[in-house]
């Protein structure tokens, strides 16, 4: 029966697969090429898909393998990253206590591949740490540490700790002022 062909399910996962590709490559044209490669690989190797398991995880795994093997090929060639580094990077984020999405996207795009990938899998797509570890071929602890480092880096890039930093600066300034005053006497 046609209805039992797992290939019919492919189309449902394409939007998420493309979103994952965009997050990894940060370039629309490259992302679409990778999705295309992934779809062809999945279609022609469908017998390797275990029916009843998570097809999205399977497709994401194919896509990330495609990405990392092509990244190895082009090695240090500087990627043409859409939108990154094009706008004023040093622009100060708004100090209204809310995360500005534009700043957030920019900060996210600056993360190393492994951290970006991990945060998309466990932070945004709802995969468990175990599933993500399986998909990336690393230990669960590695996924946890990548996720922690990624979140920590985002917090820094977003200047979320500015309030604390300002407090510290003030204290340091006060200490210096205090010291200067003392020596002035």
């Amino acid at each position: 029966m046609n209805t039992s062909d797992p290939r019919d399910e492919l189309v449902e996962h394409l939007p998420a697969l493309r979103a994952f590709a965009l997050s990894l490559t940060r370039n629309g044209a490259t992302a679409d090429d990778m999705v295309q490669d992934t779809v062809v690989k999945a279609w022609t190797n469908i017998e390797k898909f275990e029916v009843g398991t998570n097809m999205r995880a399977w497709l994401f795994t194919i896509l990330r393998n495609t990405y990392y093997s092509s990244r190895r090929k082009v090695k240090r060639e500087v990627a043409d990253v859409d939108g990154v580094f094009t706008e004023g990077m040093s622009e100060k984020p708004a100090h209204d206590g809310r995360l500005q999405m534009r700043d957030f996207r920019r900060a996210f795009d600056q993360l190393p591949d492994e951290q970006r990938e991990t945060l998309i899998l466990v932070g945004a797509s709802g995969f468990s740490y175990e599933e993500a570890a399986d998909m990336c071929g690393v230990a669960v602890g590695t996924i946890k540490s990548r996720a922690n480092r990624g979140r920590q880096r985002l917090a820094e890039l977003m200047h979320l700790d500015d309030d604390e930093a300002i407090e510290m600066t003030d204290q340091a300034t006060m200490a210096v002022i205090g010291k200067n005053r003392a020596t002035a006497f």
Binding site: A16, R18, Q36, V39, V40, L119, I120, R151, A155
Partner: protein, 54 residues
């Protein structure tokens, strides 16, 4: 000493934003090339015969 982990509220905000950024990408319209590709793959299979795989 290591760096402090961001507090729970910050982590929550980060994950909310991650989901939002990802959802925006998922909701983008799928380029036609993928529907065309699937149709093409299907057609190839049909024309090569279902009962007689090479």
């Amino acid at each position: 000493m290591g760096k402090e982990q961001p507090n729970a509220r910050t982590l929550q905000q980060i994950d909310d934003n991650l989901r939002r950024v990802f959802r925006e990408k998922v909701e983008e319209e799928l380029p036609d090339r993928f529907k065309d590709l699937l149709a093409q793959l299907k057609q190839q299979d049909d024309s090569s015969g279902t009962d007689d795989p090479k």
